[in-house]
């Protein structure tokens, strides 16, 4: 009996696997559950941004760029293809202007989508 158990111990695991439902998610047909803290697509709140540039300073992937002429005249650009989705910009922003959503980043065939102007402020 011990010999049988040792020799064929894996068989019980195989039969167990036969009756188990699939573990994988049938995405995109099935619902994909992403955790709350998942660092997905980047969202931006234009009203909250004060143009301090802290998000640009620590971005490890150079995915954020700021063209700043003065305090009241600047342009904040995001390059999604470079973005590492590390969450550093969200950590740095003291006003909650830039943050990650828990949604997946959708692929695009539009080359214009590779450069996103997050905010363009011109002097009044």
């Amino acid at each position: 009996m011990t010999y049988f158990r040792k020799r064929f111990s894996i068989i019980s695991a195989i039969f167990e696997a036969l009756i188990k439902p699939p573990e994988t998610v049938d995405y995109p047909k099935g619902a994909l559950m992403l955790p709350e803290g998942f660092r997905g697509a980047l969202l931006f709140d234009t009203d909250q941004c004060i143009g301090c540039g802290l998000c640009v300073r620590n971005c490890p992937a150079d995915a954020l760029h700021m063209e700043k002429k003065s305090r009241d005249e600047y342009k904040l650009i995001h390059y999604p293809a470079r973005c590492a989705y590390c969450g550093q910009c969200e950590d740095n922003c003291r006003h909650g202007a830039i943050y990650h959503s828990n949604q997946l980043v959708k692929p695009t065939d539009n080359p214009a989508g590779l450069i996103v102007v997050l905010k363009e402020k011109k002097e009044a």
């Binding site: 040792k6 195989i14 955790p35 590390c86 990650h100």
Partner: protein
């Protein structure tokens, strides 16, 4: 019989990472082999000198896709040591929790690869399925499945609240019951024993000569573990045993890693039980004072070494990373003699290769 040299790699179906080998065979017998590395060299150490400390955390996280967290932890500990910044105890425990989860998933991944190389695909499916439970916990608490982005200088970027604990406990419990059953099967599986026992044993002397660390060294009877020998908090307050085996063959490495999974599961529960209250991070200054520091920690594959020199600015003046797999790779040509051709995958899998780690 005449000697034939077979070039394998850098791209080949045996390994998922680029590694070039030249193996000399005579009939079914392997006479020797040599290695060529450097196909995934990314110049991370040089890149670190062009980035500030915060950016470098995300850079060193990308040294390895399996043990990404221990790299950031070790780097942050080096910077914090130069800053003389005391990390809150809760952050230390949370870092250790992530390190242990990483060890579990790294060892399970390795077990799966070994099983696949010896033809036990069922074991491969089971270990990789169970590994997902550990990855799920990491994703739930940090937001990243592989690249966690969990560390920052002065602490961690995430915190556990009451809503996380039921999920973590449930997953760890499920993992424990599934893993223990699987390891019992593995340890009694005649096919696995036949393919791994006595294959390319490495003596304790050779291990010391080559400076090999981690589970490979422990499987040859070298009792070394940075968590115990050079404990960084909170490992000085946690109780665990270091598993060693005397044989040094592929079977001993399997047993060492299997036992380490059990130890890590215990450690995870211990950490969750003793988790102190309080803040999870402290504000760190941007510039790091002049100085140099060496930090050694225990990655899933062995001792990880970081040397950091600062010149008082916000960028590292020099960062040197010594990963545990580099020494293990140097051991491969030694093992590639007096074995059968069919044992080559077992020898390759046995050292737990991570070419990306070694090349940096």
């Amino acid at each position: 019989m005449s000697k034939i040299s077979i070039p394998i790699g850098p791209q080949h179906p045996l390994l998922k990472e680029p590694l070039s080998m030249k193996i000399d065979i005579s009939g079914e017998k392997v006479l020797g082999g040599s290695l060529r590395l450097g196909y995934v060299h990314r110049g991370i150490e040089r890149l670190a000198q062009k980035r500030n400390y915060v950016q470098t955390i995300h850079l060193v996280e990308r040294v390895c896709g399996i043990c990404s967290h221990i790299h950031t932890t070790t780097f942050c500990q080096a910077v914090e040591s130069l800053l003389k910044l005391e990390v809150p105890p809760r952050a230390q425990y949370l870092r250790a929790l992530m390190c242990e989860l990483e060890r579990i998933h790294s060892h399970l991944l390795w077990l799966g690869i070994l099983a696949k190389h010896v033809g036990l695909d069922t074991i491969f499916m089971h270990t990789w399925h169970d590994r997902e439970l550990a990855l799920d916990v990491m994703e739930e608490i940090t937001g990243g499945r592989v690249l966690h982005g969990a560390n920052q200088i002065g602490g961690v970027r995430f915190d556990l609240d009451e809503s996380h604990f039921p999920m973590i406990h449930a997953n760890l419990e499920k993992l424990r019951s599934q893993i223990l059953g699987l390891l019992d099967i593995l340890e009694n599986e005649p096919a696995l024993i036949a393919r791994t026992k006595g294959v390319a044993p490495v003596s304790q002397k050779t291990i010391r000569q080559y400076g090999v660390v981690g589970p490979v060294a422990r499987a040859s009877g070298v009792d070394v573990d940075m968590r115990r020998d050079n404990p960084l908090p909170p490992y000085d307050q946690l109780k665990f045993s270091v598993v060693t085996m005397p044989d040094g063959d592929a079977w001993a490495r399997t047993i060492v890693r299997a036992e380490e999974i059990r130890e890590s599961l215990n450690l995870c529960e211990m950490i969750l039980e003793d988790l102190p209250d309080g803040e999870v991070s402290k504000r760190a200054p941007r510039n790091v004072p002049e100085g140099e520091v060496i930090i050694r920690s225990e990655a899933p594959r062995g001792e990880l070494f970081y040397y950091l020199r600062s010149d008082g600015t916000d960028q590292p003046a020099r960062l040197k990373i010594r990963t545990p797999t580099l020494a293990a790779l140097c051991l491969l040509p030694v093992q590639m003699s007096d074995i059968q051709v069919a044992d080559i995958p077992v020898v390759l899998a046995g050292v737990d290769l991570c070419v990306a780690c070694a090349d940096r």
